[in-house]
Amino acid sequence: MRDIAIVSSAQLPSVREMGPSDESELVQPVVTKALEAAGLTMDDIGFVCSGSSDYLVGRPFSFVAAIDGLKCWPPIQESHVEMDGAWALYEAWVRLLHGDIDTALVFAFGKGSLGPIPDVMNIQNDPFYVQPLGLDSISSAALQAQALIAAKKATERDFAEVAVRSRRNAMSNPNAQIKGEFDPKAIMKNEPYIASPLRKSYCPPLSDGAVAVVLAAGDKARSLVKRPAFIRGIDHRIEPASLGARDLTVSVSTKLAAEKVGVSTGKVDVAELHAPFAHQEIILREALGLGDDVVVNPSGGAISANPIMAAGLIRFAEAAQRIHDGSASRAVAHATSGACLQHNMVAVLEGE
């Protein structure tokens, strides 16, 4: 298979509410910055793919407006997935394997400020049996966290420590939204439960944000930047939607994808895991077989900045960044979709 690498990326700093900016205004700055970082213009790009969701904006065809944030003249080869941008990256990776083009632009955007996100996410559920129950995204995550506690695989203190460590890491990330030194004991003492056993600190913030990533193949990648992050393997797997049909304390789809891409065949220096809720990092670490020596979410993770539909692709951008800057040789990027880690993507990135 052809070597494909992430060569550059750019993000908008995640904020709680960006104000009256539309799709193209979210996309244009990150696309421009990511292309500049790779020394490219839109005319050099062979394929464009994006990820977003209409339901965040409350309108159909939200992505149509986004493409006016880039130069589409002469007409471009372009596609879109109504999924997290990580799956747009996957589609672009597949497209580059054809060999007739050498570069691709991937972007994703999400504005959590436009609606009541936990309730909106209920619309992902089975429309007959679950949606009418009003199972919002925090409640379903709470069921998973409770299952973890009941199985004695984690304690609430573990959740608090994941959150505190992530937000400490976020202090060095200019794009993170929630950052600082927090005290696990104080969180457990002072914060009320939103949905037991979840307190606010174990949940992701509501975020507006966007990200763009540039991919290039083989020698093209090597000619553009000093240290491309080569995608050595990328795979994704899904599980049933019904929470009752799964053991929520494990992530079999992550484990399967990790086996397919060979996560365990070498030392992992750093992992960027898409764990919007603190307890999900614990489940993902186990599924990926990551030891205590692996640096997890140096960016602060999705619990520190969570622009929905972009947060998975941001993990790829962040993991690649550690390869670009030489601080890691081998990195794992992970993205998730659906309630309680239903659908998971795993990739191994390496420098040369």
Partner: protein, 384 residues
């Protein structure tokens, strides 16, 4: 592109205004099982990955429906993707699926496209108040009518052209047991229908349909032993800006570029001579002559003459939409893949009463948005 890709299984639902007898998942499974059976597969077990496509989630009220549908489509433990490129989505989805075969990632991919329009009102779902933008409240017909008026004016087209297409496509639809509309209409009846958006009459518009279509795509190895597979000879997508000032929406550059790209891959230099049948996306009848020009079947300004001369009828020189096309069946997200699948059925010789005799090479075409998104493939009975 290293591996060959074949269409080895095709299935579609009976399309109708409201498939109240099935859920969204049931609708998809109806198409999926027909495609699996056609491919000689007993279950989802031999499928490596699933790629689905549909128009906006709001048409059914399920956000990111691949999550809800994963179980029903046998995708558990497998990769599943959901593509959304407006009206061209059915085509784009099939192209993503074919890429997974052509690049050697998978051996057999199930791809499906669907819409259950009866769950909502698409006309109004297409005309919402968009944050930070003025509200258009036009629906698709209101958007496209001025383009049709401009086409007629620019090329002095015969005013009956749209009605002639409607009569022809509905006649074709009578030959397709899966078509939503089975209407026998005279030209006089079509002309007598009320005008919805000048010059588009009610009789010159597509219906709102519930329906799904599925295909099993396979590598050359996995296609061994399959009777008459359709070989993918070329695929292409093109997008142009929505708001570029000098866009020609009557004959869009993106459509021309997409056709040129797909013909080059298939070794086609004269589409009128070398393509035996085309299934093209005609949601309003006047788009037949417009796309005939955009796709290079006619010189610019001459598309309506082909239609008026009867050249696009089944049995004529350049049959267009022998299935009855979008004018008879429009489950929006599925409409593009239905064009791709009908093209494949033709070159497999399996189109039944609407079969074009001896069809070897066929074009499947889809477009979307305000004519800024295009997806096409060329399939052939002969290996590339």
């Amino acid at each position: 592109m290293s591996e060959r890709c074949a269409v080895i299984g095709i299935g579609q639902t009976k399309h109708s205004e409201s498939r109240k007898d099935v859920s969204l998942a049931g609708l998809l499974r109806e198409a999926a099982f027909r495609a699996l059976a056609d491919a000689g597969l007993e279950s989802f077990q031999d499928i490596d990955a699933v790629v689905i496509g549909t128009a906006p989630d709001m048409f059914e009220g399920v956000m990111m429906p691949e999550l809800f549908l994963a179980d029903a489509l046998g995708a558990v433990g497998k990769p599943i993707m959901r593509v959304h490129t407006a009206g061209s989505v059915g085509g784009s989805t099939a192209i993503v699926a074919s890429s997974l075969i052509q690049t050697g990632i998978h051996e057999r991919v199930l791809t499906l496209a669907f819409e259950k329009q009866s769950e909502s009102n698409a006309m109004w779902a297409l005309s919402p108040a968009i944050p930070f933008q003025p509200q258009l409240v036009a629906g698709a017909g209101g958007y496209f009518a001025p383009l049709i008026r401009a086409y007629i004016r620019r090329h002095d087209a015969h005013p009956d052209t749209g009605c002639v297409v409607a009569v022809k496509d509905r006649e074709h639809g009578l030959l397709n047991p899966y078509a939503h509309l089975h209407l026998k209409q005279t030209l006089e009846e079509v002309k007598a229908a009320p005008v919805l958006w000048d010059p588009i009459r009610y009789s010159e518009t597509c219906p709102s349909s519930d329906g799904a279509v599925a295909m099993v795509l396979a590598s050359e190895k996995a296609a061994q032993g399959i009777k008459n597979p359709a070989w993918v000879r070329g695929t292409s997508v093109r997008t142009e800006s929505t708001f570029r000032a000098h866009r020609d929406q009557i004959n869009p550059q993106a459509g021309k570029d997409c056709a040129k790209h797909v013909y080059a891959q298939a070794g086609i230099t004269n589409p009128y001579e070398e393509i035996d049948v085309a299934e093209i996306y005609v949601p309003f009848s006047w788009f037949e002559p417009m796309w005939l020009e955009n796709l290079g079947f006619a010189e610019e300004g001459q598309g309506w003459r082909l239609t008026m001369d009867g050249k696009t009828r089944l049995g004529a020189e350049m049959p267009i939409n022998p299935s009855g096309g979008v004018m008879c069946t429009n489950p929006i997200g599925a409409s593009g893949m239905l064009r791709f699948a009908e093209a494949a059925l033709q070159v497999r010789g399996m189109a039944g009463a609407h079969q074009v005799d001896g069809a070897k090479t066929a074009l499947g075409h889809a477009y979307g948005g305000g004519s800024q998104f295009f997806a096409m493939w060329v399939v052939s009975s002969e290996k590339p």
